[in-house]
């Protein structure tokens, strides 16, 4: 076989592609994809009925949900990206992978991170920052694996035999540079022990960095690599030319330049400086057209090939993926408009939106490109087109059930939260009323998830049978003229020339994403307003600090926010609106992104210790209808006091005003505070043995939430703006 007719000028060089490593990544993606979906279905049922938490600490929603998100994004989708990129990159560059050993090393390192990371999440080791939960040793390993990936991309381009880099490669390059920047900046942390660290950023600053990362992980891990894959696999599978080269250029540069600014739309109505919120919103709105540029180029490439879309499962998956991409990228800008966001934020609408992207776009794309690559690299044909079609329909119907139930649940709950009567009273004062109302939708969603999982199993079987019938064959050899023989194009425009210079291209892509990052992050990160100086906030006591780590370990932030937004309903339901200053000691910040349970920013002092004790042991004893898991092991597990001094030292090094005395006496101090709580609990019949257990530490932390703000208002240091007069 040859890629080119023998040309007259230039030496012909012979080469082959490394598809062995591509095969490995495909199989890993399928394996982890199944695990990720299984975890997803499990946590969906856990919200329908708390009994699906099985009373086991390592299977509670708070720990399984991070496992689900990390497995779906980094294990399932991540491995698929590596497979698709290595497959297409070699062919687009007409060169064998730069370094196969490196690609294989990266492969095993990545699987080790997934397996170890997944286990660590189940055991409760977590940063408490969404999609960045893995602890610091994993952060370092991820950075290494990612750099290996980038070196292989750039190295392969260096050895290329095709003068110009194609639009797919532009997207791969921007993926590599941006994810590297995001991951490294968001992971700057100080270790306390092998599996515990604190971020250098606190409160508002941590929130800003985290959502700059979180939003752009969606942009540059779930979007740009897949746009690149779309540009390779759609025209290949349809045998159609790409609709518009000009559109590729415009939408690529505008997309990567604008995307990086949009992070603060996750922090609207928060204590983030308002200009950053406004900028985040308007850039999100402006992202609509660049995103649709990709959709248009994908769908219009299928012009004249729609009959094939009906017959060929590859195209069916790809075309549907691009359609869902278009829907999700319209919904996203809509949800970032402040007033819409106020309704949607913290509700299931966001969850539905995310899944229209991850299932509709990523999973459908993965299915399409796998069905394209697998018969080719295993040298066979697809085992069953029928089964692939069946998978397509179960996935589509499952996803529609998912999206519709989450729209209904999210909008219903959002409206119930804010409903006020003529007398300024909440129509649904009990938070639990708004939970019970949407549980039927949780069942619909869970069964939608089951359909998606079943469809995935069809794919596993189909691919297993396909590979089983594979015919052994020698690695095909291709030939093409060397790059040195390429003649410069006459009338090449500026961008065309740039496509011949991958290194310059990489630097420009890096600059494009740095502009927005720097303008948005630097003013807030360098402002001393958000650092502990003269503040009414008292640092966490040793016991509260330990309790906070229990809160993070159990993943409480997955269901409870700590951010009271400035609106009457939130003031009436929760209390004083959140202040930037109150988060100065919060490493990491714990504002959360979903209120499956109520906000906790003002929970301190709201209930007595006994209420919290009963609530952890059996949530339904104090809140009938609650869907919270049982946390009875908090009563028997001792809290970790061995690392307490080290924790306080790390905090002190980051600027928390702990004196040396306080650090030296940390353990005694913690014990004394714990005894106070235990004594009060014992009055209601709880054994005093509780004093050295995680339960008291967590209660101490919960009672601290909002307590300093309340005190500061009493002391006149802070004015509660709820009077409406100031």
């Amino acid at each position: 076989m040859s890629t080119e007719q023998v040309s007259h000028q230039g030496e012909m060089e012979q080469f082959s592609y490394d598809d062995k490593v591509v095969k490995k990544y495909i199989l890993a993606s399928l394996f982890w994809g199944f695990a990720a979906l299984l975890a997803g279905v499990t946590i969906a049922f856990q919200l329908s009925s708390w009994k699906f938490n099985f009373g086991l600490e390592w299977l509670t929603f708070g720990r399984l949900r991070p496992l689900h998100t990390n497995a779906a994004i980094f294990a399932f989708v991540g491995n698929a990206i590596f497979a698709g990129v290595f497959y297409s990159l070699q062919r687009l560059a007409k060169a064998r992978l730069f370094n196969s050993f490196m690609a294989n090393f990266q492969f095993w390192l990545w699987q080790l991170i997934i397996a170890g990371g997944g286990l660590s999440l189940l055991l409760g080791y977590s940063h408490g920052k969404e999609y960045a939960e893995l602890e610091w040793p994993f952060d370092i390993a991820i950075a290494i694996a990612w750099v290996l990936f980038g070196v292989n991309i750039l190295g392969t381009l260096w050895k290329r035999r095709e003068k110009h880099i194609y639009v797919a490669i532009w997207f791969y390059i921007s993926t590599f540079v941006t994810v590297a920047v995001l991951h490294i900046v968001n992971s700057i942390e100080i270790p306390v022990s092998l599996m515990k660290s604190y971020p250098v950023y606190a409160g508002v600053q941590d929130a800003l960095v985290q959502w700059w990362y979180g939003h752009n992980a969606v942009a540059f891990f779930l979007t740009t690599p897949f746009l690149g894959l779309m540009y390779y696999f759609v025209p290949k599978a349809a045998n159609r030319p790409v609709y518009s080269y000009r559109l590729s250029i415009i939408h690529f540069w505008s997309l990567i330049f604008l995307y990086i600014w949009a992070g603060p739309h996750h922090l609207l109505y928060s204590t983030l400086p308002e200009w950053a919120q406004t900028v985040g919103m308007v850039f999100s709105v402006a992202l609509w057209a660049p995103s649709w540029g990709g959709m248009i180029n994908g769908l219009l490439t299928l012009r004249g090939a729609w009959d094939k879309v009906r017959r060929d499962p590859v195209l069916k998956f790809l075309a549907t993926a691009v359609t869902f991409y278009g829907m999700a990228t319209f919904e996203g800008p809509l949800m970032s408009i402040k007033s819409v966001n106020h309704l949607a934020h913290f509700t299931d609408w966001v969850v539905g939106h995310v899944h229209s992207g991850t299932i509709g776009w990523n999973y459908m794309m993965v299915a399409g490109i796998f069905y394209f690559m697998i018969p080719r690299i295993w040298n066979t044909t697809l085992y069953s087109v029928k089964l692939a079609n069946l998978q397509f329909w179960t996935a589509t119907i499952g996803l529609l059930m998912y999206m519709m139930s989450m729209w209904t649940a999210g909008i219903t709950q959002g409206l119930m939260w804010r409903a006020l009567d003529d007398g300024g009273r909440l129509v649904y004062p009990q938070f639990i009323e708004t939970v019970v109302k949407i549980i039927p939708m949780y069942w619909v969603r869970a069964f939608g998830g089951v359909l998606i999982l079943i469809g995935f199993m069809f794919m596993l079987y189909n691919i297993f049978k396909t590979i089983q019938q594979a015919k052994k064959e020698e690695e095909p050899v291709y030939q093409a003229p060397a790059l040195s023989s390429a003649k410069p194009e006459a009338h090449a425009g500026t961008h065309r020339k740039l496509e011949g210079m991958p290194m310059v291209f990489t630097i420009l892509a890096l600059l494009a994403i740095l502009v927005g990052s720097l303008i948005e992050l630097v003013p807030t990160l360098t402002s001393h307003k958000y650092l502990a100086q003269k503040t009414f906030m008292k640092p966490y006591s040793p016991l509260e600090l330990v309790g906070r780590d229990v809160y993070i370990k159990e993943g409480c932030y997955v269901c409870h926010s700590q951010l009271v937004r400035p609106s009457p309903d939130e003031y009436i339901r929760y209390g004083t609106v959140s202040l930037a200053e109150e988060h100065v000691y919060d490493r990491p910040f714990q504002w959360g992104s979903r209120r499956i349970g109520p906000d906790l920013a003002r929970v301190g002092g709201k209930y007595n210790h006994m209420w919290h004790y009963k609530h952890m042991i059996d949530p339904r004893a104090v809140t009938p209808g609650s869907i919270m898991p049982v946390y009875d092991w908090l009563e028997t597990k001792k809290y970790d006091h061995k690392t307490l001094r080290k924790k306080m030292k790390v905090m002190a090094s980051l600027g928390v005003p702990y004196s040396e005395d306080e650090i030296d006496n940390a353990i005694e101090n913690a014990k004394a505070q714990a005894m106070g709580i235990a004594n009060e609990l014992s009055e209601s019949g709880v054994s005093k043995d509780i004093a050295d257990k995680e339960m008291v530490a967590l209660i101490a932390y919960l009672q601290k939430l909002g307590a300093d703000v309340k005190q500061a208002i009493k002391d006149g240091k802070v004015i509660d703006k709820a009077g409406g007069a100031e």
């Binding site: 390779y232 009457p568 009963k614």
Partner: protein
């Protein structure tokens, strides 16, 4: 299906003039102009963004805090009007709830809102026992019980139910609480707290 060779690509008649001399692993590109509606959308969102940003950043658009303050003014006015009605304890209106029907309603309100802390039949748990002769906050009159239900007590963790339930519901709950004195619990009644004042 597909191939590495560009000659197998399907090129429509109206596209023949638009094919660029690009070939990447058999992939070709067309030189279609940008769709005009797409350009309009892009320009439209950017113009909106600039105007919106300028209005809120520099041209006096209300900040979130100002908007919140305005909303709270309205709400506080409504709340004050309501409170002025709710705070008054009218003995005559209250007495209509001490009937059998009224007490049944009171039991219902109690079950929905109070039982979480005061337990079944008011035997007490997180909150105090409401069936003994001891009081933490009240002086044993219906009026003072009503006032505590209405305003709550922050230090003891008692919510201000006047902001949550209706006046009639508070009357009913008060009547119910007054009616359960001396209730004989099968087990687990909380020990007395506060001063001993018999109910009036």
């Amino acid at each position: 299906m597909s191939t590495e060779n560009k000659s197998e690509n399907i090129i429509l008649d109206d596209e023949k003039a638009l094919v660029l001399d690009h070939d990447y692993d058999g992939i070709q590109e067309l030189d279609h102009p940008l769709p005009s509606w797409w350009i309009a959308t892009f320009v439209g969102t950017v113009v909106f963004g600039v105007l919106y940003g300028m209005y809120y950043l520099w041209a006096g658009g209300l900040t979130l805090e100002e908007e919140y303050a305005q909303d709270m003014l309205k709400i506080n006015k409504a709340k004050a009007e309501l409170a002025s009605k709710v705070d008054v304890f009218d003995q005559k209106a209250y007495s209509t709830w001490t009937t059998k029907v009224g007490l049944a309603k009171g039991a219902e309100v109690f079950e929905e809102n109070c039982m979480t802390c005061h337990e079944e039949n008011g035997k007490g748990d997180i909150g105090p026992n409401l069936t003994d002769e001891y009081w933490l906050l009240s002086d044993g009159t219906a009026e003072s019980v009503y006032s505590i239900v209405n305003k709550g007590n922050e230090d003891n963790g008692m919510p201000a139910w006047g902001e949550v339930i209706s006046k009639d519901e508070m009357y009913a709950a008060t009547a119910y609480v007054m009616s359960i004195q001396g209730f004989e619990h099968k087990s687990g009644a909380k020990e007395p707290q506060g001063k001993k004042i018999p109910r009036k």
